[in-house]
Symmetry: C2
Subunit: 506 residues, 2 copies
């Protein structure tokens, strides 16, 4: 396979950008071309999640080629929800690795701030499962339910979890304050974090990445440069929450990481720093565990202990991450590559020498994830240091078209839950949502009749209205009444059986 | 570069399909997997133009992986407007050619028939230029304007052009009648063609491909099979009509063909048959010229002479083409690959042996085009027979971001025109549209104040309302009056000059 190197990189100032999307793309593209030794790219690979609905731009690949003055050159658009920028890098990588092209321009971008928050939330929520959306689920709501499950799985107190999430937010905002292209240029305090409103419990405003305009660009080439793209991998996972076997890890990341480490002949121990997809602060913690940097359940402690700080032993999101750099969905996966390349080249404020960086990008709710490894091409790198990376368990949770789920029964218990305070149009806050496991073991998303008494494991009644489910937490009285009824039925059953036995006896 | 082969192929019955889009995709995918020697694909490449707006499906790559029971496997979606299926094949090709994957499933599909014709037309029209759309231009309207220009460029009478277009329609409907998966299963007569209403002059209903649901699938592999993907190329062109230097050819096809012929070490003379993108009948004619099968202006005669008929010396669209097979936009580029593979394998009704077939797919109004060459892997093929293919002129017509167009003057002449009878919402038929070349040589799309006296070269007045232009054809009287005014001004100028000269003399 032909080796692939990074030449010029470019990135717009993330935040609110009044220019048309195509112009934003072109600024990043021109910058990457200007920074490259050779400017004559043979093709353009463009990552964009949904320019059709965000800005009304269709046929965007041809539009961008034309606006760059490169009409004639092949141009394609790649999409994998919010990891589209990483998907574009992978497609560009494969095109160069095959020898089909020698030099390509990879772009990623999105324009989102011109719409209302509710319109943006609606478009972003289209990537999640329809039944779950119908109950009022949004991306933050589902992320919150995963976070609550994480808290319970690793037996964390509410305040311990809060410390961890706050730790990620403070760290990434501090890092963003050192990045001149980041959307948020100011560090925040614990008081500011705690004063921010809940979006969906336990996630606050400062746990969620912002709505952003921006684009990033990278020139990939077969000619040797100072930075080599040495590993890349991708994996998918179930779209809905209810099809998952595991909630506190994203198997798609583990699959992607296994391939990337194997290709780069390295392991988590061989990585010096990483940019991971912190669309929500808990996702940074989960990702660092899925990538093998910390054991399951230990990612949060690492943040609190300062291990992942800008000048700590293992910096995570030194650029500020999606949280502070901003999250123009189609750009983020590529912005990570730009930031990592700059850091390897010593072009960021931190001058500590590094040899190998990793990026991890997430599409949807962990459904389409990428891992990429970049390293200095000239420096001798110890291959496969430390323990070898253990491959993830085989892909699981795939819904077979042949096995249809069983009908949902009218009782179950809460698998995880959240109270949503920023709701989609048509839903009034506060909105209680729970993933309920019914008596047959099937999972279903349901809306709560009220927001009280929510806890993982609590028993509920389920009511169905077409594809929509309502749940009610059983009261102590109801549970006692039910036990009595069961006892009575059993008693009645025993009595009836005794009668039958008596009758049968001659 | 690793050789790439076609294994199993699959295709749904094109037409109206009541199933959800993801299920349609999966039927084609399952069929291709079942037809393959090995079923364990390593990745999925999906071509889809706009599932977000057609069916409300976002994150479709993850959805399809899950529905196929392949969760975990990498899956990406590729888009280049109406050539998305071909773009997916190219991405899959590059992935295998690089050695990154050994076996991938490529899918292309779209679901469109559930929407009203006006809604579908609006979504399809998003791929064209915004200013041209604001004047009421649709895809058929722009295709019609290209056709009128073709007629004038090659000095064809109205009836000669009609014969050619009718020839394409009759041939492709006849071919469709032999294809059990085609949307239209009946041959049509000249009378039926002539009785069909105008969509945009000179294009009738039977010159336009239908609105269709459907999906196609191909398994690509590095293991040798009977069919090799020996050449593939892509090119882009200007999005708008007004940025074009040439109207009667699509340079994007010529760029794509040059690369594909070079890769496959062949030329137009080495091809036995072709599937080309006949979204409109004139586009089949133009494509066969761009591909080098016939000289410019001679593609129509070839149809009338029967050269491109099903059993003619050089069959074009033996499957029925987009015209009769149907045109689910994201599927078409891949359906061509499926049909060509089947024909090479002798699985179509025509049993005439063939060795090498070509497919050509068009994105938008010729803005993002692909050419692919498939050939029998085991049969000895004479390389590069006949004359070598002359490479196209360098890419032209690219709009440089630095050179802004000059303001449009208030007079000009008609470069090409059409009368639109099926108009987008908000525009009443009949609607006159013209591409007008102003006094500075700039082109602009304008709406006519009436539909009379339209002819290429005719002088018009231009009126501007924001980004919208209105044109009025100058009458003979107005032209005489203008000449008089010019003469008078010149006379007055001469007199003034004479006076000044007199004064200067002492």
């Amino acid at each position: 396979m032909q080796s692939v190197y990074v030449s010029g990189v470019g990135m717009t100032s993330f935040g609110k950008d009044p220019r048309p999307l195509v112009e934003i793309f072109c600024q990043a593209g021109q910058q990457a071309l200007t920074g490259s030794k050779e400017q004559d790219v043979e093709a353009i690979y463009i990552g964009a999640m949904n320019p059709e609905e965000f800005t009304g731009d269709s046929n965007i690949a041809s539009q961008i080629a034309e606006e760059l003055g490169l009409t004639g050159i092949p141009a394609v658009r790649i999409e994998t929800a919010s990891s589209a920028g990483a998907a574009a890098i992978q497609a560009g990588f494969q095109a160069i690795a095959s020898g089909y092209y020698r030099r390509v321009l990879v772009l990623g971008g999105e324009k989102m701030t011109h719409l209302s928050t509710s319109a943006t939330t609606r478009i972003l929520a289209e990537v999640i499962d329809k039944q779950e959306r119908q109950c009022g689920a949004t991306m933050p709501a589902l992320a919150a339910m995963i976070t609550e499950k994480y808290r319970q799985r690793f037996r964390l107190s509410h305040s311990a979890l809060e410390d961890m999430l706050c730790g990620v937010a403070l760290k990434n905002h501090f890092n963003g304050s050192r990045n001149p292209l980041a959307q948020f240029q100011r560090a925040i305090t614990r008081e500011v974090y705690l004063a921010s409103k809940f979006i969906a419990t336990p996630l606050r405003l400062y746990d969620c990445s912002p709505i952003t305009d921006g684009a990033a660009a990278v020139v990939l080439t077969s000619e040797k440069t100072d930075v080599r793209l040495s590993g890349i991998g991708q994996g998918t996972g179930p779209v809905s929450l209810r099809e998952r076997d595991v909630f506190t890890s994203f198997p798609a990341t583990r699959i992607a990481a296994a391939r990337a480490y194997q290709m780069a002949e390295t392991s988590p121990q061989g990585i010096d720093f990483a940019e991971v997809h912190d669309a929500f602060t808990p996702f940074e913690i989960i990702s660092t565990e899925d990538l093998g940097f910390f054991p399951p359940g230990k990612g949060g402690e690492a943040v609190i202990e300062g291990k992942t700080a800008l000048e700590g032993p293992f910096p995570i999101n030194p650029s500020g991450g999606l949280k502070a750099r901003g999250h123009p969905v189609g750009a983020s996966g590529l912005a990570q590559i730009v930031e990592t390349t700059k850091r390897l080249r010593g072009q960021t404020q931190s001058k500590r020498p590094v040899k190998r960086g990793l990026t991890q990008s997430t599409g949807g709710l962990g459904t389409n994830n990428f891992v990429t490894i970049l390293e200095l091409a000239d420096q001798p790198v110890v291959q496969n240091p430390g323990l070898p990376w253990s491959p993830p368990p085989p892909a699981a949770g795939g819904k077979k078209t042949t096995s249809r789920p069983r009908p949902i029964s009218d009782e179950g218990e809460i698998e995880t839950f959240t109270i949503v305070y920023v709701t989609p149009d048509g839903f009034l806050p506060p909105l209680a949502l729970a993933l309920v496991r019914d008596r047959n073991g099937e999972l279903v998303m349901a809306q709560g009749e009220d927001t009280a008494h929510l806890k993982i494991g609590r028993e509920v009644y389920l009511k169905r209205l077409d594809d929509f489910y309502l749940f009610t937490v059983k009261s102590q009285l109801q549970k006692v009444q039910e036990s009595l009824k069961r006892l009575l039925r059993r008693g009645a059953g025993s009595a009836a059986k005794a009668e039958r036995t008596a009758e049968e006896k001659p």
